[in-house]
Symmetry: C2
Subunit: 298 residues, 2 copies
């Protein structure tokens, strides 16, 4: 772990900051341009596919088995982000965990507000089951809004009586769209990526006419009992730190096996910077160990 790496990454992120509160189309274009600069490692293989009627990108590494699948949900406050933009991080995770992944092109607000994203995530998972893949060979994983979507999807599956996947892996989950977390203000100066105002501006795009405190939008308010083991990783330089803390707390109080790992001095979804930051690789390695321990036949 290097303080110099942390400071360098912080400076880079502050330069490339997105105005999350601006026009949606411009924001998406700027985000996609930014993410297109992130290289995909040469050993990563990707192809478009459809699962349960939803498109996605299958990500794998030559030599990995196809039996175990990570169903992955990208970040972007439920409004921006794409499957392709998540491939570099998903590739890093796939390489370390010996699995394949499908990163999903779930529908976004404001064109398709809640519950579209949850419906797509659930349909894709049920599509995997329909292919004959056992639940205990599937992981749900996601970053930021995708982390919240993991829990929202687990709740929907649980309530429908569908067999649940082996576990959930959440990076910096966005899990409270009422924006009531105390680190929203506390960590504002330290967070080089997200701002409370930027988040607030996009909430209506996803919430639409629903209640932002609905547990399938903001799972920190839900009864999480019956969920499979969860690994939650978060940096301490995040306005969304308290989303992770409260989600872990709610899971614990609901008798769910939960591991929370807080890495100090690093930003939102720091796992995406494995080339720049030692902490990213360390966190992904720990996640891979967690996945292997939870999957029925790693």
């Amino acid at each position: 772990m290097s303080k110099a790496q942390q400071l360098q990454l912080d400076a880079i992120l502050r330069q490339g900051g997105l105005d999350t509160a601006g026009d949606v189309q411009k924001l998406r274009a700027a985000f996609n341009e930014l993410m297109a600069q992130v290289p995909v490692a040469p050993d990563i293989q990707q192809r478009r596919l459809e699962v349960g009627g939803v498109t996605g990108i299958e990500v794998t590494v030559l030599g990995n088995g196809a039996e175990n699948v990570i169903l992955y949900f990208h970040g972007g406050v439920y409004v921006i982000g794409t499957a392709v933009a998540s491939v570099p991080l998903v590739g890093d995770l796939v390489r370390r965990s010996g699995t394949r992944a499908i990163t999903l092109e779930y529908r976004l607000g404001p064109e398709d507000p809640y519950p579209a994203a949850v419906q797509d995530a659930r349909a894709a998972y049920e599509g995997l089951l329909a292919q004959g893949i056992a639940p205990d060979r599937i992981v749900l994983a996601g970053e930021s809004a995708g982390g919240g979507l993991v829990v929202a999807t687990l709740l929907a599956l649980r309530d429908a009586g569908t067999p649940l996947p082996s576990c959930g892996y959440l990076m910096s989950p966005y899990a409270d769209l009422t924006l009531s977390g105390q680190t929203l203000a506390e960590k504002q100066e330290l967070d080089p990526v997200l701002t409370p105002d930027g988040l607030r501006a996009r909430v209506p795009d996803y919430v639409g006419g629903a209640d932002a405190a609905d547990p399938r939008i903001s799972p920190i308010f839900g009864d999480l009992s019956g969920l499979p083991p969860l690994l939650i990783q978060v940096g301490s330089h995040e306005v969304l730190l308290s989303d992770a803390l409260r989600l872990a707390g709610r899971a614990a109080r609901s008798d769910v096996a939960v591991t929370l790992e807080v890495t100090p001095g690093v930003p939102h979804v720091f796992q995406g910077f494995a080339g720049l930051l030692d902490e990213a690789g360390v966190a992904l390695d720990r996640a891979a160990e967690f996945l292997k321990a939870q999957l029925a036949h790693p």
Copy 2:
């Protein structure tokens, strides 16, 4: 992990319950009698010693190196418990982590209320430093009140400018003597060991004339910045669950590296039941991995 093991342990604990609210001397005698029934594994070696003017028991396993030391604080709401009663659990930890441990006979209330325990813990740590042991070869660990004492001691050492140990390992920490945690009521039916009334009855014994919300008594109220990495383990069947949750949250918000592991369905300091409960061994193995990763030369 076995539900049958969990249920069996729960039944045993409910039979052997202590009336924490009763007379102190009777309570201590009953606790010591109960703990004397727990066998010490035959490979464990122990001897009385003194460190920094405080007595304790050195616990080791033949073949373990003496370079790395766990300074251990037993539980017992700062009023009951002894070093010798902690030897079975400390021995299990020592065997797995390849270290030696010193479990400390720190002073207890009501005879010696706060800050006696913190003074003894600090004196013992400084005694280890005075022996020439490097801080990064020392771990502070403890269970229940001993877990709270780990953090209180770290705060005292930090404030004094003393070099801090490599890390802290806390099992089911008792970290809020104002008893404000929401799981105190929420988990009352599920907890086979502790009750809110039993805890409340003993608070004045330790707090004495001080403020129960003082961070060196209740570290969930403290600024924890500058502390070394913490591993916090807790069961979900505990009235003290929210002590662990809030301590992890406070550490995270103070930019401390913290790992929180919540094991569902198990009671207070479940690591003490390694013979009965698979989860105990799993948790101690993970703790040993954490210690090895944090110690300078594992």
